[in-house]
């Protein structure tokens, strides 16, 4: 995407100011939940409620992915019976939910976060350890590399 931009365009792209990492919430065990605590760095960029709503939805989606239910049990049985060859053609329940999560994050980015100069990164890219929120500089000329 950035490869074909002209210099002028690049100057107009927002530069990254900071990154916030929302950590995992381990209070209920090792199931995948993220902390809903509102990071202080985002106070001036987004509403607390919106952020918490996003995180809560993500948590619910991950809980659904890890749910021990009839569906996952059947999937396991089917896999056993077919000597796990079923994994070649079928997508696991978890992966399906991960796709849903990716779509949700994309949608949140498009609708809520990007207009506010923020970007959510899918936690799966970080091994489900953190939700990375990139904060972009408001002024394009204040180019300060956060990295």
């Amino acid at each position: 995407m950035a490869q074909t931009h002209s210099l002028q365009d690049l100057r107009q792209q927002a530069s990254i100011a900071a990154k916030v990492f929302v950590q995992r919430d381990y209070t209920t065990g090792t199931i995948c939940q993220f902390q809903t605590k509102f990071p202080s760095e985002l106070e001036t960029r987004i509403d607390k409620q919106q952020f918490e709503e996003t995180i809560r939805t993500l948590n619910n989606l991950y809980a659904e992915a890890e749910k021990l239910g009839g569906r996952s049990y059947l999937e396991g049985c089917l896999a056993c019976v077919t000597a796990y060859t079923i994994f070649l053609c079928m997508e696991t329940h978890y992966e399906k939910v991960l796709k849903k999560i990716a779509k949700y994050i994309q949608e949140q980015n498009d609708k809520i976060y990007a207009p506010r100069g923020l970007l959510l990164t899918d936690p799966i890219e970080r091994g489900l350890r953190v939700v990375e929120i990139t904060i972009f500089e408001d002024q394009s000329n204040g180019r300060i590399e956060g990295r």
Partner: protein, 709 residues
């Protein structure tokens, strides 16, 4: 086999970039898995060819069909366990660890269902290891829900493939029983024809089956118990929940269903990343700032930030006054370079200890017990004063848990250092604007970034509060920090528990049945293991150097005890010179890590009369056993160590003893020491049974494992 992928394990030049760097091919790693495969497939084929035809004629076709199905199941699970990614965490990107880089503590505590659990900083992977995660030295990866590294499948067993491994054990036990049983049936009907080829082959197959049945069944029983209790092998062997409560268990039924019925966990490495299509351009919307937003801070969930912060602040003041009175001032240089450092250090200790001491979970816990830091004064001493001071303290004082746990944070990563430190310096150099830049306030952008990056609640908040802007600025300029740290080697930070020190070590060990002798890294148990030995071999000669690693957890006495234990344990292994426990005064430049370290180690003692605690090179030169051991944890040579234990006669209890010792904390270590049979019981379960080496003690040990609970 279906979409399985294995990274970092199949010893090859090309590994996924996010998991582990490419490592040289090591054929010795493939010997156990090849042997296991050969025995399994060979014996079963012979059984099908020589025994089954007669059985199907004499009795029923169901017999070979049943055996075929079971064997197919065994093979399928074996392949899945072998080739499936166990749940490897990708390396954290640079942005992520910047905030905790220099002054962040080595451990972070989280509360899981009311129980304090420590998360250790992984220097290789650059993040705090999630609970139950451990770094495998053989694979050089952090693995989620790390169980153990199984040499017989040449793969780690972790969250994603534990189910297959468990089913493999179950099905293999059933298969062995079936082969043995039907072979016996065949022999009983051919008593007069024992000299025939079929009978001879059947008897041979029966021997093989009978030989492997005992260790396999023992291991199966062991894992059945583990699954029922919701523990991993790592946790069981290191005794994490001994006398404590397991926060990860949901009851027997739910534990079993979680293992068998949960959906296949996703892969973290090697995923296809969708290109980012969102364009972020100003102008940006801004929220309506309300009073509530400005004022209030939501209490975090899980990590005790607020409690820590309030506590650390008060204890910080106390510590400062104490330190001023009790100890001579620390050397000026580090202060100048890291203006906020002392503050940060001071806050670090109290943060950790206060969190651990004042946290009073309703149930007694292993975690709380182990990292019980000493009194603030002591800890403060450790934090802010010279090596000599600390070492003197540790030597004089009687061993105690408190004393020993004084520097749990120190522990870590043995100075293996050099390579990692150098690599880090190289990485950071680009950003570094000058090595001495720590003290200078970096540009506003970096400060802004640092603030932004400060999203870790507990451990950073106190530091923010205590250190204020200076700290954040110095902390944040991670590039400069690393540079400065790298150059500073000797001066270093006086704090023991900083991640920066850990970052300089290449790797942490991990639990592998084979690397029994080497302490492995378990998330909360590192403390006990390696730190002990190094200081004592060279006590008076170079106190400050040794101190760098010695201080970690244990006092001198415990370290001595461990030394003696380890020497006993490694007696059988000391024949091979490259083994970890050789107390060479100068390290043979065998490993590449050593080579990196050597120049430093030779330079350091000359440069600094009183090297700081954490200068890597002196530590390396002085603490051979420790660095060896630690290195073997993470080094590619670790597999060599496994070979030797398996070469040791099965009846020997030394490797297991060493292993169990290395994994436990001081307290539990004492327990282990008093109960060597258990240690030996535990270990052979892992490698030996899988290895088809008839370790007769396997089954008995399997039963013995359950006893100590």
């Amino acid at each position: 086999m279906p979409s399985v992928d294995k990274s970092g394990g199949v010893g090859g030049p090309s590994s996924p970039p996010t998991s582990s760097p490419s490592r040289p091919l090591r054929p010795s790693r493939y010997i156990p898995v090849s042997a296991a495969t050969a025995f399994l497939v060979g014996a079963t084929t012979l059984f099908f060819c020589f025994t089954c035809p007669w059985l199907s004629e004499q009795f029923s076709m169901a017999i070979p069909v049943y055996n075929g199905v079971v064997f197919l199941f065994v093979l399928a699970n074996f392949c899945m366990a072998t080739f499936m990614d166990p749940g490897i965490f990708p390396r954290a990107e640079e942005d992520e660890d910047k905030e905790d880089d220099f002054r962040a503590p080595l451990y972070k505590t989280v509360e899981i269902r009311g129980i304090q659990v420590r998360m250790k900083w992984c220097a290789t992977c650059r993040f705090y290891r999630p609970p139950r995660c451990s770094h495998c030295s053989v694979c050089d990866n952090c693995v989620e829900d790390f169980d153990h590294h199984c040499p017989w499948v040449n793969n780690c067993i972790g969250r994603r493939n534990y189910r297959y491994f468990f089913l493999f054990l179950l099905s293999l036990t059933a298969h062995i029983m079936a082969v043995f049983g039907f072979g016996l049936l065949f022999i009983l009907y051919h008593k007069q024809k024992l000299d025939h080829v079929h009978s001879a082959v059947t008897m041979a197959v029966m021997c093989v089956a009978g030989l492997f049945f005992i260790p396999v069944a023992g291991l199966t029983g062991f894992h059945i118990v583990l699954v029922a209790r919701g523990r991993t092998t790592n946790e069981q062997v290191t005794g994490k929940f001994r006398g404590g409560v397991n926060p990860f268990t949901n009851g027997c039924w739910r534990n079993v269903t979680h293992v068998l019925c949960s959906s296949q966990a996703p892969r973290y490495v090697g995923r296809w990343r969708k290109p980012q299509t969102v364009v972020v351009q100003p102008p940006f919307l801004r929220p309506q700032l309300s009073d509530t937003q400005m004022g209030g801070k939501v209490l975090d969930n899980g990590i005790q930030a607020d409690r820590h912060s309030s506590r650390s602040k008060s204890s910080l003041d106390m510590m400062e006054s104490q330190s001023a009175d009790a100890e001579p001032p620390p050397p000026p240089k580090p202060e100048l370079r890291y203006p906020g450092l002392n503050r940060g250090q001071m806050s670090l200790g109290p943060t950790e200890e206060s969190s651990l001491l004042s946290e009073a979970p309703p149930t007694p816990t292993m975690y709380k017990y182990r990292p019980s830091y000493s009194s603030p004064g002591k800890n403060h001493t450790a934090l802010t004063h010279s090596n000599k001071m600390i070492r003197g303290d540790s030597l004089k004082e009687p061993p105690s848990i408190l004393q020993s746990s004084q520097q749990p944070s120190y522990r870590s990563e043995p100075s293996l250092d050099g390579r990692e430190g150098q690599r880090e310096r190289g990485d950071r150099e680009r950003g570094g604007g000058g090595s001495g830049g720590m003290s200078s306030v970096p540009s506003s952008g970096i400060s802004g970034y640092s603030l932004g990056g400060r999203s870790y609640p507990s451990f950073t908040d106190p530091m923010v509060l205590s250190g204020g802007a200076s700290r954040s600025s110095s902390l944040r300029s991670t590039h400069t920090a690393h540079n400065a740290l790298g150059t500073l080697h000797s001066e270093g930070t006086t704090s023991t528990s900083y991640k920066s020190l850990a970052n300089q070590t290449p790797r942490n060990g991990s639990l592998s049945y084979d690397s029994l002798l080497t302490p492995s890294e378990s998330p909360e148990f590192e403390s006990a293991a390696p730190e002990l030995s190094p200081p004592h071999p060279h006590p008076p000669s170079a106190p400050p150097q040794v101190l760098g690693y010695s201080s970690p957890f244990l006092s001198a006495q415990i370290a001595h005890q461990r030394e003696s234990e380890l020497h006993q344990a490694s007696a059988a292994l000391l024949t091979s010179p490259q083994k970890s426990y050789v107390r060479a005064s100068s390290p043979p430049p065998v490993e590449r890590e050593r080579e990196h370290l050597l120049p430093d180690s030779h330079q350091m003692p000359q440069q600094h009369s009183r090297p700081p605690r954490f200068s890597r090179p002196p530590l390396l030169s002085d603490s051979q056993p420790f660095s060896y051991r630690a290195r073997s944890l993470g080094s590619p040579d670790a597999p060599q160590t496994p070979v030797s234990p398996s070469a040791v006669p099965a009846g020997s209890s030394h490797p297991p003893l060493g292993k169990s010792l290395s994994y436990t904390s001081a307290a539990t270590e004492l327990q282990y020491r008093s109960r060597p049979p258990e240690g030996s019981a535990v270990c052979p379960e892992g490698p030996h049974p899988r290895g088809k080496k008839a370790s007769g003690g396997g089954a008995g040990s399997g039963g013995g494992i359950q006893a100590p609970k």
